[in-house]
């Protein structure tokens, strides 16, 4: 089954451009959003609370998502992907995150920080080797940038890679990476390592490391506050051998590739945040209409109404920023717009979950209520793939450079 329609023709695109500012979705985009929503409700929602409680990674769900084309959405069709536009991709993430943010992060990581840099920077041979299996969901993707001592300051990472072999036909990697989403389940990892200790930030290079490479190993799953059914662990390289052709881009381009990748992927996290925010609103509305106190549904109390109005307004703002940044991905302002979408959407979603839980009162603090899980899950959105603080630096640098 595939729900991903053909990209619209240039003629239609040109005609649509004449209307200027336009907030409509194309028919294909609406179709996709509805289809993913249906899929998420029918196939992802069952068992979501249990998976969270048991920290169980839903491989079966990802297999189905792969068959639907949801794991290689931005991969061109010639490499087995769905070849959709960025906004369609963001809509899909939003719908999945609305039901299970933990599934959404695996989806975002595979699409945005594994497939995307390979499509963008990989050699033809590498693309043919790696992308079809990722796009089809036969395996998942990972991304190894962060280290125990290198978080926001990614340029200071210590993992090394040196050329080896008769004709320099492979690289030897040594080091460790922390907080790796999909660790152990991913067939391929985009990994950034230091290839020239003298060259500082220009001494980093990116590699595509197979999950079964000799010298590659995975640590124990981390116990996390939220996103418990997603897998996060350290990965280790001990004289890990990677074929020379798995170098992504050129030697020395590692930081550039990593930053470009994060520049793109923060849109995925913005969309994940919007999906969580949407659900927090839905839960607040349903609970407020149902719960009776002082003889009336609490939705009749103005204090509750105003909280709901605020959640809904910030949702509209977060969605507009996120969709807008997605639609403007190829403009000169793309980096700033994506950072703005990420910082605003993630912080707004955190506020929304906080208020939605408050509306739920004591029940919101109970595991039986979905908002308690969302409240934990949403917390990381202001942290991973660039903290709020890093987003603000990106935005400020762009403003001050004008």
């Amino acid at each position: 089954m595939t729900v991903l329609a053909e990209p619209k023709s240039d003629v239609i695109a040109a005609a649509a451009a004449d209307t200027g500012v336009d907030f409509s979705l194309t028919e294909d985009q609406e179709l996709l959003r509805d289809e993913v929503r249906r899929f998420a409700e029918q196939r992802i929602r069952p068992g979501v609370a249990e998976r969270d409680r048991e920290h169980r990674f839903p491989l079966d769900v990802f297999q189905e998502m792969g068959e639907m084309g949801l794991l290689g959405m931005l991969v061109p069709e010639e490499y087995g992907g769905a070849g959709t536009d960025t906004l369609s991709y963001l809509l899909a993430i939003e719908e999945v995150a609305r039901v299970d943010p933990a599934v959404a992060v695996t989806m975002s990581v595979t699409n945005s920080v594994c497939c995307w840099p390979i499509v963008r920077f990989g050699s033809e041979a590498l693309k043919r080797k790696v992308l079809p299996a990722l796009a089809a969901g036969q395996t998942l993707g990972g991304f190894g940038l962060t280290e125990p001592g290198a978080g926001s300051d990614a340029g200071s990472l210590k993992t090394t890679a040196r050329r080896d072999g008769a004709a320099g036909d492979h690289w030897i990697l040594n080091g460790e990476k922390a907080w790796i989403t999909n660790a152990g389940f991913a067939g391929w990892y985009v990994v950034v390592a230091r290839t020239n200790p003298e060259a500082g930030k220009r001494g980093l290079s990116a590699f595509v490391v197979p999950g079964d490479a000799p010298g590659f190993s995975v640590g124990q799953p981390e116990e996390k506050l939220g996103l418990r059914s997603s897998r996060t662990a350290q990965i280790y390289f001990t004289d890990c051998r990677v074929p020379a052709e798995n170098l992504l881009g050129e030697e020395g381009q590692g930081l550039k590739i990593a930053l470009a990748t994060l520049g793109h992927s923060r849109l995925g996290i913005a969309a994940q945040s919007v999906g969580i925010h949407q659900r927090a609103l839905e839960l607040a509305v349903a609970y407020a209409k149902d719960r009776v106190q002082f003889g009336v549904p609490i939705a009749d109390h103005q204090a509750i109404q105003f909280k709901i109005a605020q959640i809904a307004t910030e949702l509209a703002a977060a969605r507009a920023l996120t969709h807008g940044a997605g639609a403007a991905e190829h403009t000169s302002q793309a980096g700033r717009l994506a950072a703005q979408a990420k910082v605003y959407a993630s912080e707004a979603a955190n506020r929304a979950c906080w208020e939605s839980l408050q509306i739920h009162g004591g029940n919101g603090f109970h595991e039986d209520y979905e908002i308690s899980r969302l409240y934990r899950d949403v917390r990381v959105t202001t942290i991973y793939e660039g903290t709020s603080e890093m987003q603000r630096l990106v935005i400020a640098r762009s403003l001050l450079a004008r």
Binding site: A288, Q305, T313, E314, A317, A327, Q340, Y344, Q391, L393
Partner: protein
């Protein structure tokens, strides 16, 4: 989805920005201090087609779309918030309902000169005892042959000191509450019509805000806008559009404050470095830019929804709520970045800070916007 302006809209933006910078901005400080209504600004704006931006050309307007209208109000307000609200009221609160609810004769007689900027309009709904709750208004309209006779008082009427035409809301039967409210088009030279003088306010000081009084004022029945009892509906529909204008005004004020704070932070040195080198200041600027963009997108979305002939009550309320509160935060941060200088009249930011405050109040307070939004989300979504 597309968030870029068309070439025509960009051209409009450049033209209006030039007009605003060259003609409007130089007088902004002075009229803020004196409170003198800038009638010549309105006349010039009218010549440029800015008095009825989205009105059809056949009725004297510029025939543009609602997003262009947002661009106009933002650019004018970026130079002078007072001038922004004068235009917003004429466009949104006077021309818009005349186009939507007026008879052909009314459009010819009133809309055409108003949209062309040959006449200035005002919107007379609020009364001393009827602000957020306009259904409680007490101005009366008594039918007398072919006329209505109006008696009552209005307050806080923008453009009131200079308006040539007023849209007046009055009740034909107080017992009917909001169902008795009826709208009338009243030329200001009608006997029995009087207005107060300039009132000093915290901000948007030269917008001609004043009281109106009607004493035995005769209006021909043919100048009734809509049917008897339709007034409340006319007012609510009109305010939906007005909120888009005020959102755009708030964005213009905040944009000016942001630009000046950005420039100031790159000039001012403390601790041997520019303010913009401090992370705390950088983060202020990042948040200001982010919220400005969010507000602009919400406002354009409301305009786009209106343009596509859909109900846009929710979108307009969200845009107005978000943009006005954004403007409050952004002007406050801009003043903070300017430090003590920002508190003086030497710089513009104190004016922006004062001007922004009203956007959270007029054309529906933030609290009214939240009531509207909650009603939609809880009951109509």
């Amino acid at each position: 989805m597309k968030i870029e302006l068309t070439e025509e809209q960009k051209l409009l933006q450049e033209t209006v920005r030039r007009f605003a910078d060259e003609v409007v901005r130089p007088r902004a400080k002075e009229i803020d201090e004196t409170g003198e209504f800038p009638r010549s600004f309105f006349d010039q704006a009218g010549e440029l087609g800015l008095a009825g931006v989205a009105m059809p050309e056949e009725y004297g307007g510029a025939g543009m779309d609602t997003i262009s209208y947002c661009v106009v109000i933002e650019e004018i307000s970026r130079a002078c918030a007072t001038s922004g609200v004068i235009l917003s009221v004429n466009n949104s609160l006077v021309c818009d309902p005349l186009l939507k609810f007026g008879t052909e004769e009314q459009k010819q007689e009133f809309l055409t000169p108003l949209a062309a900027g040959r006449k200035l309009g005002c919107f007379a709904l609020t009364e001393p005892g009827a602000g957020s709750d306009p259904a409680g208004l007490r101005t009366t309209a008594r039918r007398d042959g072919d006329d209505y006779v109006l008696d009552g008082n209005k307050v806080f009427i923008t453009n009131g000191t200079d308006a040539d035409v007023a849209l007046v809301f009055a009740s034909v039967d107080m017992a009917l509450k909001h169902k008795g409210i009826t709208c009338f088009i009243v030329p200001a030279d009608t006997p029995g019509y009087s207005h107060g003088t300039h009132e000093f306010k915290l901000g948007v000081n030269a917008s001609g805000t004043t009281e109106l009084a009607f004493e035995n004022l005769r209006v021909p029945a043919k100048w009734r806008l809509g049917g008897e009892g339709d007034g409340f509906k006319v007012a609510m529909a009109t305010l939906d559009g007005g909120r888009i204008g005020i959102a755009a005004q708030a964005i213009g004020i905040a944009q000016a404050a942001f630009e000046e704070a950005l420039a100031y932070s790159q000039q001012r040195e403390q601790f041997n470095q520019h303010l913009s080198d401090f992370q705390a200041i950088q983060f202020y600027l990042a948040d200001m830019a982010t919220e400005l963009d969010a507000a602009r997108l919400l406002t354009w979305k409301a305009a786009w929804t209106k343009e596509n002939a859909r109900r846009y009550t929710l979108e307009a309320a969200q845009a107005k709520l978000f943009a006005s509160e954004m403007a409050q935060r952004v002007t406050n941060k801009a003043l903070q970045i300017h430090g003590g200088y920002g508190y003086t009249k030497e710089y513009n930011v104190e004016r922006y800070f004062r001007d922004a405050r009203i956007t959270e109040i007029y054309e529906g307070t933030s609290e009214i916007q939240k009531m509207v939004i909650a009603d939609w989300v809880l009951n109509k979504a």
